[in-house]
Amino acid sequence: MQKPERSKSIFRFAAPQMFYPLAGKLAPWFAGISAVLAAAGLWLGFFVAPTDAVQGDVYRVIYIHVAAAWMSMFVYLVMAFWSFVGLVMNTRLSFIMSQALAPTGAMFCFVALWTGALWGKPTWGAYWVWDARLTSQLLLLFLYLGFMALTRAIEDPRRADKAGAIIALVGAVNVPIIYFSVKWWNTLHQGASVSLNKAPSMATTMLTGMLVMALAAWAYTIAVTLWRVRSLILERERHTDWVAAELNALEGKI
């Protein structure tokens, strides 16, 4: 068997066998960072930050909502990036990365919609408004679900990888188009009744709390994705000797 350890290039981690232990080392660190940041952010958000003059305590949902919404959009871009890398360089790990990212992106998308609805009821008087932001977020969730459904419906992993990469890229091209179409559609008809842009300028503690929560969401995404990548690697490489050895070692620990 070859010994890929000899290569010193960073690209050696493109081999699943090399990435697996690295992901295992990094994931707990990011999980720890995420837990600390989330605790700090929630403490800042729920206990330190002042009550909003206009909205009262309802506004505090933004500490979860904004981080989730940012993350849901960013994760799709990262997913499209890895899909592109996978198609161009034909690296298996890139496809595994984009498939590991999708469930987390969909989860954040759902959290953003759900917390948005909970915030909308007392503030706007409705759980759902056909506002541009809400609508494009909903469609983003459908794009995630479509990607996940497609990659899981195809049994041959190589075909699943490439088909998923194509739909991720098609979706990435369409996301801005969808965003602007729903924006124009909305403003043409109703006029902008509610806009998140026009929120009163924030107190510093509020902004800090929000940014800390956003960083916590980043760390969480990285940790969960790395763990999911590890499982996917074990599943894909189950016919190899090193996975058999790894699984034996794991069984020994239990």
């Binding site: 459908f142 497609l150 419906a153 075909r159 088909a163 739909i167 098609v170 979706g171 969808i178 043409l188």
Partner: protein
């Protein structure tokens, strides 16, 4: 010129002939369109003002759904009998005959919708002037649906439950077309003028015509790999 377009016209002619021989399939798609449109007055009530207000949206959603219904046929038969592999093995550029197949599919399933839609719009008491805008918006929009849908059809080729999956994949992508298509008629009716919407649809058609066949060709290669 004619040499370069040889594979295009050959595939176009073949697919149109096949569509003509299997007229029943094409007519079912059209019948579905008509039936769905006719269901709305039963569902929302036959109040003329309300019907006039929802007509563009109803016609567009129905057109979108019947397009979706016919999409799986685009490559399925060629995939089943091996024609697709033979086409991929030919030295002709894949994108060229993919565009030919999509064009033939649109002529067989999209064009009849464009022709029938104004007649259905009359059932909703849409005024005469808006009919022209409706025809234009459908003529520009349904080819976009066919092009985008072709990518989804190629990706789900030969999968179990491919039909439902295809709907999940392409419906979010169809939303901009729906917004600008139905919006064109609405804008005309409200006196704003439909030009902006129609130009956006035209731009969208050119963009999808440039990009979608490439993605579709790549997806077909993956499907038969």
């Amino acid at each position: 010129m004619s040499r370069a377009l040889g594979p295009f016209t050959a595939v176009l002619g073949r697919d149109l002939l096949l569509a003509w021989r299997g007229r029943a399939d094409v007519l079912v798609t059209l019948a579905f369109f008509v039936v769905v449109v006719c269901l709305f007055p039963f569902g929302v009530g036959a109040e003329p003002n309300q019907l006039r207000a929802i007509a563009p949206g109803v016609l567009w959603v129905a057109a979108l759904l019947s397009t979706l219904l016919s999409l799986h046929r685009l490559f399925a038969q060629d995939h089943a009998d091996g024609t697709l592999e033979q086409l991929l093995l030919t030295p002709e550029p894949t994108v060229l005959w993919v565009v030919a197949k999509i064009s033939a599919h649109w002529i067989a399933t999209g064009l009849p919708l464009v022709v029938v839609a104004p007649g259905l719009a009359l059932l909703f008491d849409v005024e005469q002037g808006a009919l022209g805008v409706l025809i234009l918006s459908l003529a520009l929009g349904t080819p976009i649906l066919a092009l985008l849908g072709a990518v989804g059809a190629a990706l789900t080729l030969g999968l179990r439950g491919g039909g439902m999956l295809l709907a999940l994949l392409v419906l979010p992508l169809f939303v901009p077309v729906l917004i600008f298509g139905a919006g064109a008629v609405d804008a005309y009716l409200s006196g704003v003028g439909a030009q902006a919407h129609l130009l956006l649809l035209g731009g969208g058609l050119l963009a999808t015509l440039a990009l979608a066949p490439l993605a579709c060709a790549a997806a077909l290669r993956i499907a038969v790999e």
